[in-house]
Symmetry: C2
């Protein structure tokens, strides 16, 4: 499967971020056609103690073609616009291919 990975740095106001993320951004994103699964992980620290990161979201698509098609939909554009509005400075986006599972 192909997944879009969104990694968010720690926001200044975590509560405001989470409120927007879980109540507004995630519901908008979940509507993107072709999205198979969305997995959210809270970053709670690192083996060294604190982490610079706050949240990781993995959004699964069948393949690169489905992903590209999905990104052209109005729903994806709405999600992207919302993302840039509340977390443009915090987010890093990556496209990944799962290669192994054991």
């Amino acid at each position: 499967m192909v997944k879009l990975i969104a990694l968010y740095k720690k926001p200044e106001d975590k509560e405001a971020f989470d409120e927007h993320y879980f109540n507004t951004h995630a519901p908008i994103t979940e509507k993107i056609p072709g999205l198979r699964k969305m997995k959210v992980t809270k970053v709670v620290g690192s083996p060294m103690g604190e982490s610079d990161y706050h949240l990781l979201c993995e959004m699964y698509y069948d393949d690169h073609e489905s992903f590209k098609k999905a990104m052209k939909t109005d729903e994806a554009k709405a999600s992207g616009k919302d993302l840039m509005g509340f977390a443009g400075e915090l987010v890093t986006l990556m496209i990944g291919e799962e290669v192994d599972e054991s």
Copy 2:
């Protein structure tokens, strides 16, 4: 579940990195007692084109207690030592809690 996330920046020599990662580092890491699942994702780009990152590895444990216990084992120490040797400058480690699956 609790997961240890290792995110690797792009190495200078991708082939040498992958050779060490898949043939040496992953087999050492898979031996850590308490590790339930290890999921490796190749980063192949970003919606904007290139990505600064190369690989994401997610290592699942039952809970924080199991994870802490695992980190104290000889196997985890061997994995950590190997990691610092080949990718100390490239890796970011995060501890995460999965909060949602849809």
